[in-house]
Amino acid sequence: MSTLSGEGYSVEFHDSDECVAISGTLRLGGLSEYAPLMDLLIQAMQQCRTLTLDLRELEFLNSSGIAALSKFVIRARDHDGCHLVIRGSSAVPWQGKSLNNLKRLMPSLELHFE
């Protein structure tokens, strides 16, 4: 298992489940501060046939985080053989608004709201 954490957030990659769970509040200052998270996601993508991003517990994401997530989805779109699933929560208002844009970037993305 790989993990990453900082004030108010944590990221866990469970390779046995092919799942990266991101939780808490993410408002890092610019794309460069999101680089460690990007590295973890790309590493997970290269190891998994189907990668699930579990965002249900991610309560807040700033626009730099939205940019980082979009950047990752575009990488996954352009990476042969990666099937990406995102699990969101309809109880977290930003997700209902902003996650659908990721589906537009990558039409094969499976987006599930619970």
Partner: protein, 189 residues
């Protein structure tokens, strides 16, 4: 003075709630200030929930409250992050954030000082936003962020596209040089 969109006269009557924040960013290092952006934004989001009481028999009230709380926190955080990034510390100007809650709308208005070159670049961005289709520009910015790493303006575009916000700006020349930039974000509730 130059304006883009309608910077309104804000009401201060008995039907209007308001909050003001003002600070001088140079007094604390940026890293510590950045943390405060989140605290302030969360506070503003939590504050407005008081005015949207829950009705246990009507689940829609819970959703509406969460939507408004999330929108205010997101917008306030983006305004403060941008203010921190572009504020010119050498100017005798604080960063201010004003929240106005009326019956039908919430207004967040942020001011900061910038040098003239930064103000001109920002005006060029605003003109580009105003003459573009916001949805197309938003998706282009997401694509570009992947290739160039340039995410500039994504916060404003997210407010417009995902939160249905209406934005307006004012640029005022300061007697001491530089420019006071006002950004006004309005959401209908």
């Amino acid at each position: 003075m130059q304006e883009y969109g309608d910077i309104r006269e804000l009401r201060h009557d008995k039907d209007t709630e308001s909050l003001n924040l003002a600070f001088w960013p140079s007094s604390v290092p940026l890293q510590q200030r950045w943390r405060n952006n989140g605290l302030s934004a969360d506070f503003l989001g939590d504050y407005v929930t008081t005015f949207f009481p829950l009705d246990e028999n009507d689940p829609a009230t819970r959703n509406r409250r969460a939507e408004i709380q999330g929108a205010v926190a997101f917008i306030a955080n983006e305004l403060l992050e941008n203010a921190m990034k572009f504020h010119d510390h050498s100017l005798p100007e604080p960063i201010t954030l004003h929240l106005n809650l009326e019956k039908e709308r919430i207004t967040l208005r942020e001011t900061n000082g910038t040098d003239n070159a930064t103000a001109e670049r920002f005006q060029a961005f605003i003109e580009h936003v105003r003459e573009s289709d916001p949805d197309t520009l938003y998706m282009e910015t997401l694509e570009n962020s992947a290739t160039s790493g340039n995410t500039s303006g994504l916060g404003y575009l997210t407010m417009i596209n995902d939160y249905g916000a209406e934005l307006a700006w004012r640029f005022e020349t300061l007697p001491s040089g530089g420019c006071r930039v006002t950004t006004q974000v309005t959401i209908q509730i």
